[in-house]
Amino acid sequence: MSIIKTEHQPRLSAAVNRIQPSGIRRFFDLASSMDNIISLGVGEPDFSTPWNIREASIHSLERGVTSYTANAGLLELRAAISKYLLERFGVDYHPESEVIVTVGASEGIDLALRAIVDPGDEVLIVEPCFVSYAPLVSLAGGIPVPVPTSIDKNFEIDENDLKERLTSKTKALMLSFPNNPTGAVMGKEGLAKVAEVVKDHNLVVLSDEIYAELTYDGDHTSFPSIEGMKERTILISGFSKSYAMTGWRIGYLTAPKPYAEAMLKIHQYAMMCASTMAQYAALEAMTNGREEMEEMIISYRQRRNYFVKSVKEIGLTCHSPGGAFYAFPSIAETGLSSEEFAEQLLLDQKVAVVPGHVFGAGGEGHIRCSYAASMEQLEEAIDRIGAFLKKLNESKG
């Protein structure tokens, strides 16, 4: 066997070397190598995209609509998004200058950070949270500053924790409610207190509201709907979770014109536009998708009720998650770290969950369980986790 010798040593950027691969990766590899596992580790809906949405996209292909769209996306789609946000959450964005259709909410997060972060700027990140926020802040040259939340306060933000972390370099606050992985939601009152801090310190807010529709015990409050917040907020959302469209990679950003224009500059050079067939699918979702989405939401709520009650019955402490499709029970009492717990549970009972520490500060001592699985799987998973806990207790004597 001959080894090709090369003179070239990889010349990677310091920025990319600074960030770590996602902690989820290891679990993915481990779980993928096993058969017959029940997975509560999936961060996406268990429904397929409703047929009318898929069919609309097929129709667009049949008509040969395969060219670029405007950089910001089809105007028709932007108008539908604008109308939806106004009617549903009372936030008003101009379709022509304040809405950008993105390649999933993930691109939206990246665009927003790149548009506002200068080297050395600090961005407050409310944790536990989605795994991409801190790495994307770093890539944009900023410094992620975690603001932990905890089960004692239902994973809501305490404004004093925010204040403690403010410095002269703090530029922005990254919010995400309903939250992945905790399922926490924040009502108008709590958010208004956050808004006070934001206003006093002239922060920009990035509000990731991708799970807004998946709110079960009341109405979702959109952060820009709070007085004085629209002018300083970039709203990030999309179709993945509410319409079961994760694989389409289609989302949107809304922001006041100066922010939207800045983000559009990056988007037009880096992405040109979101995929055209996905935009037609999204347009159908906005126009005729409500009814089927509501059915899915009822189903998530029922499974949330089932799972949270059951997980408490088998002996874990769990707050009541008001949104998304995750429960975030505490496993601290077992004496295991979340990584040990998740790994042993997987090997012993073939149930995959995600250890909480991968979601940042405040996540250690918890596991993320997605209840976007069939009732049959959830019932079986509860039995197996119960058996695992019993074993742990017995071995402790």
Binding site: S22, I24, F27, F28, A31, S32, I37, S39, G41, V42, G43, E44, D46, S48, F130, V131, S132, N180, I298, Q302, R303, N305, Y306, K309, S310, A352, V354, M375, E379
Partner: protein, 165 residues
């Protein structure tokens, strides 16, 4: 009928075999209350029964033949279509019967062991009823979807990655 009952019904319409304890948790209601609701709904004949949806073509039991028959009848003064409908639905071969708008009156769904079984039923039992003017028989060739459930290959399995953020 209250909100909880409606939610219970739409749940068990799809998942008839779900355990009462699970139903209770999903509805955020005590188990004995759910049991009482089910009893009451059964008593009020809102819930008429519980049955399994079976794809017989996958068993070794000989498949039955199903036909949909469009029937034109003469309604009778005072009882309308109800009298003849009752005479038809009492035959055990009749699996479903609907009064329809449009060019015919009754839609009869019949199951038999063979086409000749059904032909015999139509010619001897159905067509000979006094009120029946005409019948048009359509045989089912293949069942794609029934009661909201797709039959045959399920190509929409779970394609998700086992762990994702």
């Amino acid at each position: 009928m209250n909100e909880k009952e409606r939610e219970l019904l739409s749940l068990i319409e799809k998942e008839g075999r779900m355990k009462e304890e699970s139903l209770a948790k999903m509805l955020d209601t005590p188990t004995d209350e759910v049991a009482a609701m089910l009893k009451s709904l059964e008593k009020r004949k809102v819930i008429l029964g519980y049955s399994a949806l079976i794809d017989w073509s996958k068993t070794d039991i000989a498949e039955t033949v199903t036909a949909m028959i469009d029937v034109k009848v003469t309604p009778k003064r005072g009882v309308g279509f109800d009298e003849v409908a009752e005479r038809i639905y009492r035959f055990k071969e009749v699996k479903a019967l609907y009064l329809m708008s449009g060019t015919y009156d009754l839609s009869v769904s019949i199951e038999g062991r063979s086409m000749s079984d059904i032909a015999q039923f139509v010619s001897e039992k159905l067509s000979t009823l006094d009120s029946v003017i005409s019948t048009t028989t359509h045989f089912q060739l293949k069942k794609y979807k029934h009661d909201g459930v797709i039959f045959g290959q399920d190509e929409e399995g779970d394609h998700r990655m086992v762990v994702s953020p």
